[in-house]
Amino acid sequence: MTPEPSWERLDARMLLLGPVRAIGGFLVPAAIATVGIGSTDGMRGLIIAAITLVISIVVGVLPWLTTTYRITSTALVVRTGVLKRQTLTAPLERIRSVDLEATLLHRLLALRKVQIGTGVDDGSITLDSLGAEPAEALHHRLLAMRAATGPTRPPHGAPGGNDESGEPRPSGGGGTRPDGTQPGESAPVDTVPEAQPPAPAHVLATFDPGWARFAPFSLLPLALAAAAIGAVSQLDLPFGSTGEAIWDWLIALSLGALLLVVILGGLLAWCATTMVGYLVQWWNLRLVRQGGNLRLTRGLFTTTSTTVEEARVRGVEMTEPVLLRAVGGARLSALVTGLEDGTYAVLPQVPREVAVGVAQEILAGDHPPERGATAALDLDLHPHGSSARRRALIRGVRAWGGLATVAVVGLWIADWLSPLWGGVALVAAVAWGLFVGDQSYRHLGHRLTERHLVVGAASLTRARSVLERDGIIGWVIAANWFQRRLGLTTLTATTAAGSESVVLVDLPRAEAEALVRETTPVWV
């Protein structure tokens, strides 16, 4: 056994973080105090300020003095705390993520905040902060050691095992993840050289500033509603007085102009803020596959780098909300096990082709890409039939018509709405409900490929999940009384990744059973 490594400290430059933050945080109250309290109490304000500063410096210094860490052959050990000394031990094979984050201040000081995640329930270990290079080195080292020690399940192994037999496996990418490691068997850790060079990175996506054009199409309805509400509230003016028709007309005219200006201004402001926000958040986005991990780096001011192990990726989900879809955009996330919320946002609003391409690369994993094959997200799905369509239409009408009925009846009782307009509103709501139902039926469907289950959700937003067959850990075939009469079921594939389940709505019973039988032949 090699001698235990020595304890290491955080970077000394982190000593500047606390005081600088404290000064920043205390400038405003200090200014208020000086102005508000005036000359008589100015002295007291200064004393308070000085005390605050001293406290903040002490608070900043303490973590540096008390936090030490080291990597043994089996675990990352972090000692921390002043009065209550704490020793946090993260076994290397349980380390699931090593994320780096840097605010603008961190970046000025060439520091990185390192967050090491060990699972859903255990929370994470934070080292705030290390120097940029040691942080990067720690990142690579921890992930490489995990790959060497971890009981990693064989990646993407379909139960049938009939996939890509005889085809050569690519040696790059997943090379550091040994398929043959038995769970519990400790690999020869000592042979993992500390200075092992990071595995070659395969770039899956890089940022294109032009993508920001999709940013405003996310919550546009919200903005429009806000603008409309603002405009309507402007209309609440006393222009019902008679006699001065021209005056009224003028007011109405200027109100119209005002309305136009408000709406246009609102739209412009919305576009500008969303696009700036998009650029700030996603600037310099880079998604790479490296040593069996997916690594996403991004950010204009605060940069973040997050990593997930590819063996934990069970699939992808692409969503195209109505407006985004109208302009050809889509969002992509990966379905990952052992993450807090199960999904890992891979791409923000980007051109649909980009999302589909990246999804294909993620799904392929270390399988050789099938040439000429249709991307899983572009496959035609099997529709669920006319009964399913009827149910989708009924759902749409029930939801929107019901909502409208309650609103119209309420307004009518309160005498704020004439029956005519109420009727018009109802008809419009029913028509909209039919449209939503029709759209959600068009999006509904499923398809089983060699390695994946592709599911289109029954919703106005087009959302497609592609789940590895091997990621399915159970089934629920549910049918209520109405569905039983039509021979339909709601089939749920349960999984540890994503939102824990993928739902196929209104699938004919025979097809549901065939799907279950073929995917997990444990119950026939």
Binding site: V476, E513, V516
Partner: protein
Amino acid sequence: MSTPTDLPVPLRDPAHQVSPRAVAMWRTTELATLVVETAVIVVLYFVLPSWPWWASLIAGLSVVGSVISLAVSPGLRYRIHRWEVTDEAICTRTGWFTTELRIAPLNRVQTVDSHQGPVMRLFGLAEVTVTTASAAGPVSIPGLDLDVAHEVVARLTAITAASESDAT
């Protein structure tokens, strides 16, 4: 490869029924619900300053609903509820208005619990719950005879202890 739609053979129903005493247990639970519901309505009737017609309607409908549920659901449940543990999977069928067939491969099972609530204790019954790594995937068998429940837990524990994957 596409979904074969020409498979006429339906999935097999699980083999075993739950304990016949489960009917009495469900009936007791339904009765307790009905009693509590009626008590709440009576209290509201005397406490509230006014009692509009639609309040009577809601109260009446909910009581009628509970009475129907009391009369119909225990028997239906007993007929529908089934369970089976094979060497590879656990499968249950539950429900009465909405029926659910739940299947979990045993190599994906994470925990096996048995649980006995006060009403179950009254009738010497227990519920066995098997969880997987998915929050959507627990499979429970309610209304098992206590001895059978112990047996099932022992068997499941033995089988799942033998599998080695991390079950996600």
